[in-house]
């Protein structure tokens, strides 16, 4: 069989190793670059030796304990609510028409960069935002915006809302991808024939299997929510900010002495995320125990709170859809707005002024952004396809360890190793501009490309390859002439996902480029501090459009290519 050919394909074994090096090399280097300064290494004064001064400086910063608490609180609450919403939505609505509609609305939100979504949410929910304008003064009586602390509130509620709106669609789509693999129908039939109510049956039998499939994505969400910079800069509090924003401020302060406490803070961020994931893991165990106990008790009552939980899931998903899409619409309106004062629901005049001011520059930056996205995605694609093909030729799937390595870049807080990477890149001298940014993007693009492609690649019917082999086709021939062409649609989807991930990167671009590479995301966030809604509108629209069109292309191209081979569209 095909596997017998593996021995002469020894070169394929190298690709997984290269991939691991690409992923782990920069991360290990970055962590080292963070670890040393935190304990007195790499000091500018030339002194050396072990020191705890960075920790003392870090811990004596006013409000630092609140920052730490904020990171934990906003991260855990937003992840828990997003996960709960996702579970209740699937449990209560999966298979209904409402669910189909929501799925269609929420999928595009996934590709929307965090920065664009956060800015859109701020446009909507601020006291002078669009929601308030639409309701004023006829419903609220407000002639002036109320003095309400909604965006950037010290409790981090706006930040939590923004994170939920972005992470719920992510978890939902990850779950939908996992559902077919766990045989929902069979499980439900068994439980229901034993007399369990629908929701209860789902929770007891389907959920545990589903959760096993989405556990790593949940950890990635948790880690991101605890340590993100892009959403926290827009929606998060400033008195004080979250720990990761603190770290960014210190890393970029002219006072060099602050690098050392920033490194200590970055390690703290890392430890926080690790500890929280551990606690979350024990929480999973506790839930499993409760479930087993409940199963043993044998209670079968259909959940009386069914309708409440269904309503909760639906409202949460609707909230995500309405705020983000509403935000996008209001960004579009602002980008064409002339004068627009509160409480007018729409601008008193429209014009192309903002587009003519920012359009050309946005176009330039778009080219850079796309160049980066395409290059990073192609590198990732080659490595991923190489790894998957190596699996075929060596007859060995990626193990649990491999999955963890893949998820490492998504679970490790970026703020924990990127500053260290910046310091190390500088040590090597030449590293500035496009290349280091490209490398840093590949680290984050590759896992998503792998996750998107692994399923379809492995599901490809190997019998086709066997037939080709009996007809004299080599393994390479099977790969190039059958497997890859037949997998065109999933490959294009993976490319679209990879590009969206690259386009949305903020911290890697900022930290590794020395400010020399501006992307749509870094420009949009730079503008967010100035609060010019028209300029932000133009930039976020361009940003979102560029994250979306590759998906449109991934839908359209296979239809064109396979227009005479309809069977392949679903292959």
């Amino acid at each position: 069989m095909l596997r017998n050919k593996t021995n002469n394909g020894g070169g394929w074994g190298l690709i997984p190793l290269i991939t691991i090096a690409v992923l782990l090399g920069p991360i290990a280097a970055g962590l080292l670059g963070t670890l040393l300064p935190a304990f007195g290494g790499m000091r500018l004064t030339g002194e050396s030796g072990f020191s705890l001064t960075p920790w003392a400086m870090f811990l004596s910063e006013p409000g630092i304990e609140m920052s730490i608490w904020l990171s934990v609180k906003t991260g855990v609450i937003s992840t828990a609510i997003a996960l709960l919403g996702c579970i209740l939505l699937i449990a209560g609505w999966h298979g209904t028409r409402v669910f189909k509609a929501l799925e269609r609305v929420l999928s595009p939100l996934l590709a929307m960069p965090h920065a664009a979504a956060a800015l859109g949410l701020a446009f909507m929910i601020a006291p002078s935002g669009w929601a308030s304008r639409l309701l004023s003064p006829w419903a609220t009586g407000w002639e002036r915006p109320p003095d309400l602390l909604i965006v950037q509130d010290p409790q981090g509620i706006a930040l939590i809302a923004g994170l939920i709106a972005k992470e719920l669609p992510f978890l939902l789509l990850m779950s939908l991808a996992a559902l077919p693999q766990i045989g929902v129908r069979g499980r439900m039939q068994v439980a229901q024939s034993l007399g369990y109510g629908k929701t209860r049956a789902w929770l007891l039998l389907v959920l545990p299997a589903l959760y096993g499939q989405i556990r790593l994505p949940v950890y990635a969400v948790l880690a991101y929510a605890m340590s993100n910079v892009d959403v926290a800069m827009v929606l998060g509090p400033t008195t004080p900010p979250t720990l990761s924003v603190f770290i960014l401020q210190w890393m970029t302060d002219p006072d060099l002495a602050l690098r050392a406490p920033a490194a200590a803070a970055a390690l703290t961020q890392l430890a926080l995320v690790a500890a929280t994931i551990l606690i979350w893991f024990s929480g999973e165990r506790a839930f499993a125990w409760l479930r087993n106990r409940s199963v043993n008790k044998g209670a079968r009552a259909a959940g009386t709170r069914d309708s409440v939980s269904r309503l909760f899931g639906l409202s949460l998903a609707s909230f995500a859809a309405i705020t983000i899409i509403g935000g996008l619409i209001s960004q579009a309106i602002w980008s064409f707005a002339g004068r627009w004062r509160f409480p007018e629901a729409l601008p008193s005049s429209f014009g192309l002024r903002s587009w003519s001011r920012h359009g050309w520059e946005a176009l330039d930056v778009t080219l850079v952004t796309l160049g980066l996205a395409i290059a990073a995605t192609l590198i990732a694609l080659v490595l991923v396809l190489g790894c998957l093909e190596a699996e075929v030729r060596r007859g060995q799937n990626l193990g649990r360890g491999g999955m963890i390595i893949l998820y490492l870049p998504l679970i490790l807080p970026q703020i924990a190793f990127l500053p260290g990477l910046q310091i190390l890149l500088l040590q090597f001298g030449a590293a500035q501009g496009f290349t280091p940014v490209l490398i840093s993007h590949v680290i984050f693009v590759l896992p998503y490309v792998f996750l998107a492609l692994a399923g379809p690649f492995r599901a490809w019917d190997a019998r086709i390859g066997t037939i080709a082999a009996t007809m004299g086709s080599s393994a390479d021939g099977v790969l190039w002439r059958l497997r890859l062409p037949m997998l065109l649609a999933p490959i294009l989807t993976a490319v679209a996902i990879g590009m969206a991930v690259s386009i949305g990167q903020f911290l890697p671009t900022l930290m590794t480029s020395g400010g020399r590479v501006a992307t749509l995301t870094t420009e949009a966030l730079a503008l967010s501090s100035g609060g010019d809604r028209r300029a932000i509108g133009v930039w976020t629209l361009v940003l979102t459009a560029n994250a979306w069109w590759p998906f449109a292309a991934a839908l359209i191209i296979p239809r064109l290519v396979f227009r005479n081979r309809k069977g392949l569209l679903h292959g």
Partner: protein, 398 residues
């Protein structure tokens, strides 16, 4: 032998310096041709960004210098970059060629020997600079010594909406009363933001028992001098916008707040900013500016070149172009930038001086005579300590 080596390295050093010696302007121009200058300047204001883009077009046209605007959210980012490069031993070919810089950052870089120079006073256009009348050779009381070149004059003004607030408060006490009567209608950018810190200094100058103490470094007298400022803030903060639990992160964010009707007053360091913002439909047509009765802070904006800049010659060409009457006139044109000029009208050729005289400053810009007295900036040590204290007292909302 030792001497020989020393002499040899001296020759090498001066050879390396030759094309970046500002007194030999022709070779600077020659070296600059084809260079790319990465100007790290705050990028949160669209009018400034447009102006910098125009400067880029002009220096490309005249001198073949390509100007790239590296847009910062905070000037400190660029300073941090240079510091990191020095730490890594990258003493040439640095990523930052020119920085738009202000007092504290300049002081930090100058003290750490991170700046190239002196170059400013050798620039050909320095002859037009108003050295006597404007604070262009000191930056927050620190002598510039030619390590940074001025390009715009700024003075604190307050922007208000004359329709909703016909009689704006013109002193610290009046402002305090007005805040108490109109809770939630005033705020300032969150220190350590430059403009927010400026607001604190502006209040301090008026409230301090003896403002001349601020011209010397802060010492044992710090608590005594600043006590009235903290008392003022203690009263005012609960009645600020969002009860002082959130602040705008930058100056321009305040314009959006006025336009949205969230606040009635905003501090600005650019007398022409309001006029430009009206033209861009970012402020209502009824917006105006005013200064406090006791005068307001004034200072110059500078550009500096890091010691390890990759394109020093190109950066000097840009700095010199910024001092040209052409660039200064454009910068002062209200619907473009509205920044005050650093040039001495008497030193200019008559045609240029006339062009300045004929400039219509715009509806919301105070003419120089009404701008009143420009107060000197306190020594940077005051700002550093006040920022830290403010953060400790009010930066952690509960």
């Amino acid at each position: 032998m030792k001497h020989l080596l020393a002499a040899g390295s001296l020759v090498l050093a001066s050879a390396a310096f030759a094309d970046t010696d500002p007194s030999d302007w022709d070779s600077v121009l020659k070296a600059a041709n084809g260079e790319t200058v990465y100007w790290n300047a705050w990028g949160g204001s669209t009018t400034t960004n447009d102006f910098i883009a125009w400067v880029g077009d002009r220096v490309k046209e005249d001198h073949g210098v390509t100007l790239e605007h590296v847009k910062l959210t905070d000037t400190a980012d660029a300073v941090g970059r240079v510091v990191a490069e020095q730490a890594a031993g990258k003493d040439e070919g640095g990523a930052v060629d020119m920085i738009w810089i202000n007092g504290a950052n300049f002081n930090a870089m100058k003290e750490a020997d991170l700046l190239f120079g002196p170059f400013a006073e050798s620039l050909p256009n320095w002859q037009y600079v108003d050295v006597a009348g404007k604070t262009v050779t000191t930056d927050f009381t620190v002598p510039t010594d030619g390590y940074e070149s001025p390009w715009a004059m700024a003075q604190v003004v307050f922007i208000y909406d004359s329709e909703t607030l016909p009689e704006p408060p013109k002193s610290a006490d009046a402002l305090q009363e007005w805040i108490a009567a109109n809770p939630g209608r005033f705020t300032f950018p969150q220190p350590p933001d430059f403009l927010g810190s400026t607001f604190l200094k502006q209040m301090l100058i008026e409230l301090a028992p003896d403002a001349t103490a601020l011209q010397a470094p802060a010492g044992d007298n710090y608590a005594e001098v600043t006590a009235p400022l903290w008392a003022w803030l203690e009263t005012a903060t609960p009645n600020l916008w969002r009860s002082g639990k959130a602040y705008p992160q930058t100056g321009p964010r305040q314009l959006q707040l006025i336009n949205d009707g969230e606040v009635d007053l905003a501090i600005s360091f650019s007398p022409g900013e309001a006029t430009a913002a009206i033209a861009n439909e970012q402020l209502p047509e009824s917006a105006r500016t005013y200064v406090l009765d006791g005068g307001t802070l004034g200072n110059a904006s500078f550009v500096a070149i890091p010691y390890n800049a990759n394109a020093k010659a190109g950066a000097m060409v840009v700095a010199n172009f910024l001092l040209s009457p052409e660039a200064q006139l454009r910068a002062q044109t209200p619907d473009i930038l509205g920044y005050g000029t650093v040039l001495d009208m008497a030193a200019l050729p008559a045609a240029d001086a006339d062009a300045f005289a004929n400039l219509d400053l715009g509806i919301a810009t105070l003419p120089p005579a009404e701008l009143g007295k420009a107060l000197p900036e306190p020594h940077p040590s005051w700002m550093t300590q006040i920022q830290a204290d403010w953060t400790e007292r009010y930066g952690v909302a509960q």
